[in-house]
Structure formats: C-alpha cells, structure tokens
C-alpha cells in the first residue's frame, strides 16, 4: 500500500516538474466577433457642477502638443526643423533641442526638463522626426522662459 502511495506521489512530482520546466506557453483561443452594427458613442452632458469639475480635471492631463526643433537653427531660419539624427547629434554637442508650440506670432518655445531636474534635450531629440509630440507635465515660466517638467513624452502623429 505504502509502495503504491509512494509511486503515485513520485509520478505526480515527475509530471509537475515536467510541466514546470517545459517553459512553453499554454494556448487559449481569441474571441471572435462577427461584423456588428456600428457602435455609437452616447454623449451625455454633465449633470452636476461636480461632474463638470471632474471633466475639467481630466482636461488638465491633456498634453502640451508641439514639434521638436533645434533652437540654434530656429534662431537662424525661424523654423528649426531637424531630422532625428541631426537632433541627436546637436543634443550630444550640448545644443538645445526644444519644443515649439503653435506657429507664427503665437509660437512659444518650451525648454523641457526631466522630473529629476536634468535637461531633456536628448530624450526630446528622439522625437524630432515626428510631426507632433505631446508632453504631459508641470508648466512654469522662469525668468521669462517657458519650462515644462515632463512626466510623459509621446508621439502625437
């Protein structure tokens, strides 16, 4: 009886170990949907002022949208467009890579910093080939300079 019990336990252990070390992914089936009628978003007006406030708070998370430029080039050609490679080279050389928000007379230049206080020019340079970039973070004006402390930087193409 004891032998039978031991044999069963050993067998279970062997199976367990085999499963644990097989390291192959188990499979499941994806769900399938047949073509359905179009889903229409149900828009509702906020019912109370509290709801309006919540919505306003949500908008505070909206990113600052702009394009990545070279400040050095912008001073010369009033455009500042650079490729990703050029921007990364300039950033390595210590030249400022910045965010241009808006166009023409309303254009503002933002100096972007990381949360640890370091200048985020090198990180921003990776987005120079994107049409638009969005930055979420705290905005400040220091000595007339527009600053944003970036929590998130993402493409907005």
């Amino acid at each position: 009886m004891k032998k039978l019990f031991l044999a069963t336990v050993s067998l279970l252990l062997v199976f367990g170990l085999t499963f644990a070390f097989s390291q192959e992914a188990a499979q499941k089936k994806a769900s399938a949907k047949t073509a359905e009628p179009a889903k229409v978003e149900q828009k509702q007006k906020p019912e109370t002022k509290a709801d309006e406030k919540k919505d306003a708070n949500k908008k505070a998370d909206k990113p600052l949208k702009g394009r990545v430029i070279s400040l050095t080039k912008y001073i010369i050609d009033n455009n500042g467009t650079v490729s990703k490679d050029e921007a990364m080279k300039e950033a390595d050389e210590g030249k400022p890579i910045v965010l241009l928000v808006g166009e023409g007379k309303k254009a503002k230049i933002y100096f972007v910093f990381n949360e640890d206080g370091s200048f985020a020019g090198k990180k921003l340079a990776k987005y120079a080939s994107n049409k638009y970039v969005g930055i979420i973070g705290k905005q400040k004006v220091v000595g007339g300079l527009n600053i944003i402390i970036a929590e998130m930087i993402e493409s907005m193409d």
């Binding site: 499979q27 949907k33 889903k39 229409v40 990776k126 080939s129 994107n130 998130m152 493409s155 907005m156």
Partner: protein, 306 residues
C-alpha cells in the same frame, strides 16, 4: 577401460570449451543504431537567431548513445555537434527572410547516424522592443490624447509606430477602451464598425489568429507548424480583461499590403503590468508590446517536414 573413457571424454570436453571460449573472444556485435530525436519546434529570437527545441531520443540512456548532429541549409554551415541531454539550442548567424532547413540526427558511439530525424524549416524575424523613437512600444487607451493605434512596422523609420486616429490609414491594431471594454482589434474591424472615426480607412489588411499564448516572453512561443496553418480573421479580437491573460500574452498577427498576395507575419507580446495588461493611470493607460516581425512577405516562419 572406464578410466580411458573418462580421459577421452574429458579431453573432448576441454577442447570444446577452448573452442567456444576462443570464438567468444573474437566475435564483436555491431553497435545498434540509435533512434533519432523527434518533434522539432522553433521560434525566432531576432533577425539572425532561431531557437530550436526537440524531443530527446528515447535511446539516450543506452550505453552506445553518443550525441546529436544538426545540419543547416542553405549556407556554409558546418554540422553542429550537440551533446546528449540537450533539447534546446540557439542558431546564430542566420539571415532574415531566408527559410532554413534544420535537421537533427542522433549518433551512436560509432558515429553512425539515426535513420529518423527531427526536421523543421524556419526563418528568423526582427525583434522590436522599442518604437521609432527608441522608447517602449506603447498603445494608449481611447480617452488618451496619445495614439491608440499600432503600426507593426513603419517602413520609413524601420520600427513599429504608435499612431493617432488621424493616421488611421496606417493602423494594424487598435486598443479600444470604451463602454467598459478593454480590447485589441484589427484596424479593419475598427474601421468597419466605426469604433474610431478614421479620416481614411486602413490601407493594409490585418488579421488576428484565434490562438493566444499565455506567456510573458516571445521566446516561449515555439511552433512546429507554419503560422499560415492557423486560423486568422479580421473579426478576432483580444479581450484584455480576461483573467488568465494578466501575466502576459502573445498573439499572432498577419498583415497584407494593398494589392499584395502574400502576408507579413508577426507575433506580438503584450507585457504584464502590476495589475494586468493595462498599465499607467487614467486617461493615459496603455499596453506595452514587444514585436517579432517578418519583413519578408510570404514567409510564415515555419514549415514542418516529415
């Protein structure tokens, strides 16, 4: 008389014994051929590396079992000797898009190869852990101002790209998080059902396989059959709230360029976060992906040979 007979019998017996013992010392049995390995599977590690896995020969415990030998073609690959007990190996120095044949045989102590072998045809594929901005590949929820669409491979920048609705024509997959739903759809399904209002319909066709692999790494998803043998549909979708998915999943996707006849195949890992597949905080929650992409159309990774 009795003594003479006894001596005669004893001499005859001794002679017979000597004869038999001499025979035994000079005869050598041929070493038996060993049974070959079986059930070869493969997965792409990167654009130059394929990982192979197989079922060991049942004769490994035999004293005359020596090792394995792996043949690779096409290309100038010398046969690789693999020690017994090994059932996984990474083959490096391969070229993306080339379909290689891998054949593994077992050998006995006389270097005689098994008749049976484990075989597979496979092609390595590119592995992307970052997007065109050299940052993690993230796809954002519907409420986010960032992109909810994923282009598996942007030929201009040579990497995957996250896109907003305005660039819907380039989407392959889209994350949809409305009305309590958290799902990943093909861009074609999204367009057909107006989940997002694309200015232009997606130009590529994208289909999702019905198979979902429960894993947190692409390296664990081995195949023994061509990916084209699986069932695909633009209508398959992934419900990312499924409890069994919370530790990560791999899905198989294929895309086809306009007017093309062949598909490009990809495997997409959706990495696990602290609380499931959706990471971050509202309204910028996201899924993070790693993508294995076969740039060459019509190469569905694997073709088994038997």
């Amino acid at each position: 008389m009795k003594i003479k007979s006894f001596f005669a019998f004893a001499s005859f017996f001794l002679a017979l014994l000597l004869f038999v013992s001499c025979e035994e010392s000079t005869t050598t049995e041929p070493t038996p051929t060993v049974t070959g390995p079986d059930s070869m599977k493969a997965t792409s590690i990167d654009s130059a590396t394929v990982r192979l896995r197989w079922k060991l020969s049942p004769d490994e415990s035999k004293t005359y079992f020596k090792d394995y030998v792996l043949y690779i073609s096409p290309g100038a690959f010398s046969p690789k000797i693999i020690s017994k007990g090994t059932n996984t190996i990474d083959i490096k120095g391969l070229t993306d898009g080339t379909i290689y044949t891998f054949e593994l045989r077992a050998r006995n102590t006389e270097d005689k190869e098994s008749i049976g072998s484990a075989k597979i045809q496979w092609s390595p594929a590119f592995r992307f852990t970052t997007n065109i901005n050299d940052e993690p590949i993230r796809v954002y929820e519907t409420a986010s101002s960032f992109g909810s669409g994923l282009q598996l491979y942007d030929p201009t920048n040579g990497k995957p790209k996250t896109l907003k609705v305005a660039s819907g024509e380039f989407w392959n997959l889209g994350l949809y998080t409305k009305l309590g739903e958290v799902s990943l759809y093909s861009a074609n399904y999204i367009a057909n059902n107006n989940l997002y209002n694309f200015p232009k319909a997606p130009t590529w066709t994208t289909e999702i396989s019905e198979d979902v692999f429960l894993t947190n790494t692409l390296d664990n998803v081995f195949d023994s059959q061509a990916l084209s043998a699986r069932k695909f549909s633009t209508n398959y979708y992934i419900d990312l709230t499924e409890p069994s998915f919370q530790n990560g999943i791999v899905i198989i996707v294929r895309t086809k360029a306009p007017n093309a006849t062949d598909w490009n195949y990809a495997k997409v890992l959706i990495k696990p976060g602290a609380n499931g597949l959706l990471q971050g905080t509202p309204d910028n929650r996201y899924i993070e992906c790693v993508i294995s992409y076969q740039k060459k159309a019509g190469v569905p990774y694997a073709k088994p040979i038997n």
